[in-house]
């Protein structure tokens, strides 16, 4: 299926352009992930927060950096660039890890999962509800990127080393004032 969304690698993606973005740097303290996320998401206008969906999606990306990238090594930093307005949410997160080596495997796993969903074959889908690697532990749910690749409709792009990810979500434009078409 051509409409199955993929994680991409593109060092030169325009999503890595940090011009005009805010920046914060965090230690890799697992206990602080939701706090770090709140520090970032507080800049977002309420119109795009969708209650707490934006917060949740940002926390997953920060968690991946803290846990899978920096292996919760408190001395390693997570760098976050972010920008929000009423029509978009843009985020770049960089860790000091070795990078997401399993990206291609993930894409092919997700493709099989989506095909199960399209065919409503939930018995077969059982095999694809959690993406595991040799580094996964029992607390890894292995489903965060399934939602991320759908939520971030402007793309989920990794750099060449795959230790830096840029994501973009665009929101429909809100009309202001009188709608002339309806008059």
């Amino acid at each position: 299926m051509s409409d199955i969304k993929l994680l991409k690698t593109d060092e030169n993606s325009k999503l890595f352009d940090t011009t005009g973005m805010f920046f914060k740097e965090f230690n890799s303290d697992y206990r602080q992930i939701r706090y770090y996320t709140l520090l970032v998401v507080q800049k977002a206008p309420p119109e795009i927060k969708e209650i707490n969906l934006l917060e949740q999606q940002i926390s997953e990306i920060i968690k991946n950096a803290v846990k899978h990238g920096n292996k919760c090594d408190i001395n390693k930093k997570v760098k976050v660039w972010y920008y929000f307005d009423n029509e978009k949410a843009q985020l770049i997160v960089e860790d000091e890890g070795n990078g997401f080596k399993e990206l291609e495997t993930w894409n092919s796993f997700n493709k099989k999962r989506i095909n199960c969903f399209i065919n409503q074959n939930f018995e077969e889908m059982e095999k694809y509800v959690s993406f595991r690697t040799k580094h996964s532990d029992e607390n890894d749910s292995g489903n965060a990127l399934f939602a991320a690749v759908e939520y971030w409709n402007g793309g989920v792009v990794f750099n060449k080393k795959r230790n830096k990810v840029a994501v973009l979500k665009t929101f429909p434009k809100k009309r202001h004032g009188i709608d002339m078409d309806s008059m």
Partner: protein
């Protein structure tokens, strides 16, 4: 997150209150496993008072659902709403999870 268990006929209803996140979702998993050990076989997980769920919460629900399916026991998840529903939809699990609109609805599906 707070978990309360009540019983209706042979069905145990777990009312989840609060946020299901990376710090606490394991508690729900542990509770259900303990209940299965005690030979309980009919569950409703009521998410009426859950307004936030992350991938760990989703992971806990997947684990529970998968475990219960394997041993041919019964499960319904009820009252998903707001961003919880959105996250389940984004993860494409609406058909995978046994979902009911209300606890009453879930009871009638389980007890039939």
């Amino acid at each position: 997150m707070e978990l309360k268990v009540r019983k209706y006929s042979n069905t145990y209803i777990i009312d989840v209150n609060g946020e299901m996140d990376l710090y606490n979702s394991y508690k729900l998993k542990e509770l259900v496993l303990k209940m299965i050990e005690k030979k309980i076989g009919q569950f409703i997980i009521n998410l009426e008072n859950v307004d936030y769920i992350d991938s760990s919460g989703i992971g806990a629900l997947i684990y529970i659902c998968s475990t219960i399916k394997k041993i041919n026991m019964k499960l319904q998840i009820t009252n998903i709403h707001g961003s919880v529903k959105k996250v389940i939809e984004l993860t494409k699990l609406m058909g995978y999870f046994p979902i009911s609109n209300s606890v009453e609805d879930a009871i009638s599906k389980i007890e039939q």
